[in-house]
């Protein structure tokens, strides 16, 4: 449950101070960044640039939704970027090979699901640490994508693919609609189903959950499978935006996703956090990247800056949790 709501139920109407104290770091970062950018670079607030930011953030939000569930269970998935790349490559190759569109999409989703299931099974059944399992599958997914494409991009995709980027539903761009739909889906799953309650409980007290007769392994596997499927879904938008499938395009995207989740106030311990915060976190990471671009800061500095943001976010959380 997100923090403001929790306070509201416990103490009646929360004071502004309580709300501010409970807001995740992303909200502060977002406000500060937007204020600074609006002053320094007025073009930041133009409709064109804001739409651009939203489109860029779409892929990150979708991946971060899955990552949030994984981190809520006190896990991590380092393979999501590589799996996204492999799913995109599989879809691209299937389309170029003349297979029908639905089949290509199903194949990509199957890749995401398969890697998620494998991650989950190794973590839940074999008791292996999540970061080591997903680091291993990162290597495997990356290798498969490189071998399938010989390291080249898959180009010459049929025009239908671009619908995922340029198409419109009710006047809204497809990437935004897709992100909204997947966000709502995850919201319902997390806050209105037994699965969702167990996700929080696995992070909170896995032993108690297991002792009360819940098949924790099955739910844990489902969480990683969900994250893998979301990465595959994100690959459709990514491939459409590039109009090509690159095997290495999303390597490191898991890093932005982890930053988004952490900034959004989800903790690596005790199942604290939620996906509303992640939305703010992804927006903050997106605005940070966009802002640094507008300010002419090179991509290399951006990488270092986001590394600092991750450590700073977790440190902030750790210090706040102690008081």
């Amino acid at each position: 449950m997100n923090a403001p709501a929790a306070i509201a139920t416990h103490a009646g109407r929360p004071s502004v101070r309580q709300l501010l104290a409970a807001a995740p770091g992303a909200v502060y970062l977002l406000v500060i960044l937007c204020a600074l950018l609006a002053v320094w670079r007025p073009e930041f607030l133009s409709a064109a640039n804001l739409t651009n930011v939203a489109l860029q953030v779409a892929v990150l939000v979708i991946v971060s939704l899955g990552m949030t569930l994984v981190i809520l269970t006190e896990g991590i998935d380092l393979s999501l970027g590589a799996v996204l790349g492999l799913a995109g490559v599989v879809m691209g190759l299937a389309l170029v090979g003349g297979y029908p569109f639905p089949l290509a999409i199903a194949a990509a989703l199957a890749v995401g699901l398969a890697f998620g299931l494998a991650n989950g099974a190794l973590i839940a059944w074999a008791g292996m640490p999540p970061f080591i399992v997903t680091l291993g599958t990162l290597g495997i997914a990356h290798s498969l994508a490189m071998v399938l494409t010989h390291g080249n991009s898959v180009t010459g995709l049929p025009a239908q693919v671009r619908w995922f980027n340029e198409g419109q539903v009710l006047g809204f761009p497809v990437p935004l609609v897709a992100t909204a739909v997947l966000f709502l889906l995850t919201y319902l799953l997390l806050y209105h189903t037994r699965f969702g309650r167990y996700v929080f409980a696995i992070g909170g007290n896995r032993r108690a959950l297991a002792l009360s007769g819940v098949r924790v392994s099955a739910y844990l596997i489902a969480v990683y499978a969900f994250a893998g499927a979301m990465a595959a879904a994100a690959s459709f938008v990514m491939t459409a935006r590039m109009n090509a499938a690159h095997p290495t395009i999303a390597l490191g995207l898991e890093f932005d996703a982890i930053a988004a989740v952490v900034l959004g106030g989800t903790s690596f311990e005790k199942g604290r956090g939620g996906i509303v915060g992640t939305l703010a976190g992804a927006a903050a990471v997106g605005v940070l990247r966009n802002g640094l671009n507008l300010l002419g800061v090179s991509a290399e500095w951006q990488v270092a800056a986001i590394g600092l943001v991750i450590i700073g976010g977790v440190a902030f959380d750790s210090i706040r949790g102690r008081t």
Binding site: M128, F131, H150, F268, G307, I310, I311, S318
Partner: protein, 334 residues
């Protein structure tokens, strides 16, 4: 079983069943790989190639040695590859302009700084090790690219290149460096207070803290050592290839972890050791050598490493547990 089959060397007979499982599987893997490669490739059993394997294994060991200490405490250092790259590039820029000693010092200092930062984050701010060092990975990585501006530094002093490319008699210099390092770390782990502390923290951090051990100081020392050794590995690597580019070390993280896991050091801490990492490095070097000899595309290398990590950790988790359960069930030693 006959008496003869039970006549294991004494140190093996004293091992718990799951550790014996690790020793037996690794020995089998080593022998099997050597057999397969000598059957498949006529070039395998040549002096030149075996020396190549040894040098590759030594580089691998130097890189994985510090990480072994970290993993023994139950922690992890995901930044070793990136720290290697950053310190190698910093050092290279000075070495190439003639300041060899200064360059080496700068590289080691950079590694030390990153390692100390990791240690502080883990102990003082109590950030989980995998997330603190993951953040450090990207910070170091970003700084490397900023520093290098996409360029390559090459052409080092001959004296400096000795550490990576030189020979003492027929033996490559990195092999000697690795041997000295192995000796030092063995003494550190098994004959010093810090070494006992490392195993104690990995085995039971709460008990270690309650027994009055300076746990935080030990942990910071271990992460600092990991950073310094990553920097040293970086110097050996650039001396060997005679060039440093911002991508140096990028792909070495998975290999570094693979060698430690292959060496049978438990990711949960407290079990394993530096001797295992030597064996792990050797197996890994043989696998890479085999892939090269058999003309396997380098695209497969990341996947191969990933698979090796997964299989060896899986085998120890599941196989070791089974063996232990079987022994306890029978109520005796195998």
């Amino acid at each position: 079983m006959t008496q003869g089959m039970l006549a294991l060397p004494r140190f093996l007979a004293r091992l718990p069943a799951d550790r014996l499982f690790v020793v037996v599987t690794r020995a089998t893997a080593l022998v099997a790989i050597v057999l397969v490669l000598s059957l498949l490739s006529p070039h395998f059993f040549t002096f030149q190639n075996l020396m190549n394997v040894l040098r590759q294994a030594s580089l691998q060991f130097i890189l994985s040695a510090g990480l072994t200490l970290v993993i023994l405490t139950g922690g992890i250092d995901l930044s070793v590859g990136a720290v290697l790259g950053l310190s190698a590039c910093l050092g290279a820029s000075l070495i190439v302009s003639g300041h060899v000693a200064l360059g080496i010092a700068a590289a080691l200092a950079a590694g030390l700084a990153c390692g100390l930062a990791n240690g502080m984050l883990v102990t003082q701010l109590r950030i989980p090790a995998f997330i603190a060092t993951y953040g450090m990975l990207w910070i170091a990585h970003g700084l490397t690219y900023v520093f290098m501006k996409g360029e390559v530094i090459h052409g080092f002093d001959k004296g400096f290149r000795f550490i990576g490319a030189g020979h003492v008699g027929p033996i490559p210099a990195p092999v000697i460096a690795a041997a000295i390092l192995l000796g030092l770390l063995y003494v550190l782990l098994h004959h010093t207070r810090l070494g006992r502390g490392i195993y104690a923290i990995g085995g039971n951090p709460v008990a270690a803290r309650l027994s009055g051990m300076p746990v935080n100081r030990y942990l910071i020392t271990v992460y600092a050592l990991s950073g310094v050794l990553a920097a040293f590995a970086g110097l050996v690597v650039i001396a060997r290839v005679n060039a440093a580019d911002p991508g140096t070390g990028e792909e070495l993280l998975l290999a570094a972890i693979a060698a430690v896991c292959l060496g049978g050091t438990s990711l949960f801490g407290g079990q394993g050791g530096i001797g295992g990492t030597i064996v792990g490095s050797l197996i890994l070097a043989l696998v890479i050598n085999g892939m090269n000899l058999l003309n396997v595309s380098t695209f497969w290398q990341a996947g191969g490493m990933g698979l090796i990590v997964l299989v060896s950790v899986f085998a120890d988790q599941v196989g070791g547990r089974r063996v232990n359960a079987a022994v306890h069930h029978r109520g005796g030693k195998p």
